[in-house]
């Protein structure tokens, strides 16, 4: 498969920013059923900040590119999702400082595991609490199994995306335990979680941009 270089990571993140903005209304609609309806807006503000920060960098490394996202979510967003996404991007950045082989499934398994941990540590959510953790935890498990089985990155990211969307599906029947959404109690049942959905979109963009041969031409 094709090499994946630092520039491919930057391209992937820019593509992610566009994709999230195009899903803004959908994410808000999901969040209206479960929370206060601002998830698409918060994510869009963070992603616009990411793009702005990338514009200011000259050929950023993969770690620097993810850190541009951490800084955007730290400075521009607020709410609970700001610090959580800050730590998600920061976890990816730190992992990519150590693991420099960007085409290796094991590198991305380490990234996903660090993100899943960061998402839990920052917001205090555990699997089953109807949050983005319900996408990242199964995705990390899937890509780790793929790495252990010697699968290539394309297969690893495809498995991760599938597991993440399965996780989103399962949030539909859950009742949130944390944050403003928890105030809704039973009213929140029957709708998938917006944070898990945006996490799955992120993983899907990684699959499409990094996983398909030739994507990093």
């Amino acid at each position: 498969m094709a090499d994946i270089d630092d520039a491919a990571i930057e391209r992937m993140l820019r593509r992610l920013a566009q994709r999230i903005e195009s899903e803004k209304d959908h994410l808000c609609a999901l969040d209206s059923a479960v929370g206060d309806g601002d998830h698409g807006v918060s994510m869009t503000i963070g992603m616009r900040g990411l793009t702005r920060n990338l514009d200011e960098l000259d050929s950023p490394s993969a770690a620097e590119a993810f850190r541009a996202g951490a800084e955007a979510f730290a400075d521009d967003v607020g709410a609970a999702i700001g610090p959580i996404l800050e730590e998600v991007f920061e976890a990816a950045a730190r992992t990519l400082e150590e693991h420099r082989d960007l085409a290796s499934t094991a590198t991305w398994a380490a990234v996903f595991e660090a993100i899943a941990r960061a998402a839990q540590d920052t917001g205090g959510a555990r699997p089953g609490d109807k949050t983005l953790v319900d996408a990242w935890v199964p995705a990390a498990a899937a890509i780790r199994s793929a790495a252990d089985a010697g699968a290539d990155l394309s297969a690893g990211l495809a498995g991760a995306a599938e597991a993440a969307w399965q996780g989103v599906e399962e949030t539909t029947d859950l009742v949130p335990r944390l944050g403003r959404a928890s105030r809704l109690g039973e009213r929140a049942r029957g709708h998938p979680d917006a944070g898990a959905t945006s996490a799955s979109i992120m993983i899907e963009v990684m699959r499409d941009e990094l996983g398909s041969p030739g994507a990093a031409s």
Binding site: D25, C28, A29, S32, D36, G37, D38, G40, V41, S42, T44, I45, R48, A74, D75, D76, V77, G78, A79, A80, I81, G82, P83, T122, G123, L178, G179, R180, R183, L184, G185, R187
Partner: protein, 344 residues
């Protein structure tokens, strides 16, 4: 050319994503004699920091004016970070506000109890301590009776009671009291405060473009949260006296103010006329006097709004002499001006 769908949203705005910045810009220009910008999303009173004085930082999401930045000024808060609409400010502007408020005697954060706010303010407090050696204490406002049962008071969110708690906090800091006394008095103010609201219609967050929740034309919800969190009871519209009786019944069942002196706040959420607030106040006064509650101070108006949401809330704060005097102390802030009041 319009960047949004005007059918969903009839607002006097430009690009919805510029809403917070442009309104902040106008606010700072209109009140340049009272406040100054101390960060991209943080403001402080013009004379902050004041040496030896406890720094008061209040804050939260935008969309609630006069809260929060309208209460920065003399007799008000020293500084306020400004969040996106209905979203806690990030740690960075909170830290900028903290530095602007810091007069070397410690800083008190006070804000409504929401998960996002707690997360960001706590992160800022940790950085203030480790990076700048500033002692920060936090007093969460938890006045909303409808948001959690009595045995889980700590889970209650903060709504209009913010105003009473912030006012007491700021006035106490003005006396040059030390950090521990400022915190103790502010906690007492919060412990003594209860609010129950009623929502009539939702509001639209500009960058979202659609109402945050839905109530039918003839529906109201008692206890509805200011961001659309569910309340206690949804029903058809009814005469307001019955509604005021119900609201006060819920408050008095939670904390019996009978035999106490209180301050009363009837707060409009943004789209309810002052006339209706006075109709509510009139009934509240009848009920409270009938219950043996002594009303020493009254506030009727828009103190904490939710954009153009319709509805109102009633807040009671029990008063002792100190809380009375602090609440009555003069203030000159961009959106709250009070003369020094005679005792009574």
């Amino acid at each position: 050319m319009r960047p949004w769908n005007v059918v969903d949203m009839k607002k006097l705005i430009n690009d919805p994503f510029d809403f917070v910045e442009e309104s902040l810009e106008g606010f700072l220009l209109a009140h340049e004699d009272l406040v100054k910008r101390v960060g991209r999303r943080a403001i402080a009173r013009i004379d902050a920091p004041i040496e030896g004085k406890v720094g008061v930082v209040i804050g939260g999401g935008s969309g609630h004016l006069p809260a929060f930045m309208g209460y920065v000024g003399r007799g008000g808060a020293a500084a306020a970070p400004i969040g996106n609409i209905f979203a806690s400010p990030p740690a960075k502007p909170i830290l900028e506000a903290t530095l602007a408020a810091n007069g070397g005697a410690g800083v008190v954060y006070s804000y409504g109890n929401y998960a996002g706010d707690v997360m960001n303010f706590d992160r800022a407090a940790a950085r203030a301590k480790t990076e700048h050696g500033i002692d920060v204490e936090t007093v969460l406002v938890t006045d909303d009776v409808a948001s959690a049962p009595k045995d889980q008071v700590d889970r209650r969110r903060g709504i209009a009671g913010d105003f009473f708690v912030f006012k007491v906090l700021a006035a106490k800091a003005e006396t040059m009291a030390d950090l521990a006394s400022v915190v103790a008095t502010t906690r007492r103010a919060n412990d003594y405060t209860r609010t129950v609201g009623v929502g009539l219609s939702a509001c639209t967050v500009p960058a979202h473009g659609k109402p945050t929740f839905h109530l039918a034309d003839d529906e109201l919800e008692v206890g509805l949260g200011v961001h659309g969190e569910p309340g206690i009871r949804r029903s058809h519209i009814e005469p307001v006296d019955a509604l005021v009786d119900e609201i006060l019944g819920i408050i008095l069942a939670d904390k019996d103010y009978g035999g106490s002196d209180v301050a009363v706040l009837v707060n409009g959420l943004g789209a309810t006329p002052y006339e209706e607030l006075y109709i509510m106040y009139r009934r509240a006064r009848q009920v409270l006097e009938g219950h043996g509650v002594g009303i020493r101070r009254s506030y009727v108006g828009e103190y904490i709004t939710s954009l153009e949401m319709a509805g109102a809330s009633i807040t009671l704060m029990q008063l002792d002499e100190e809380l009375h005097d602090l609440l009555a102390a003069p203030a000159k802030c961009p959106m709250f001006v009070q003369m020094g009041a005679a005792r009574g």
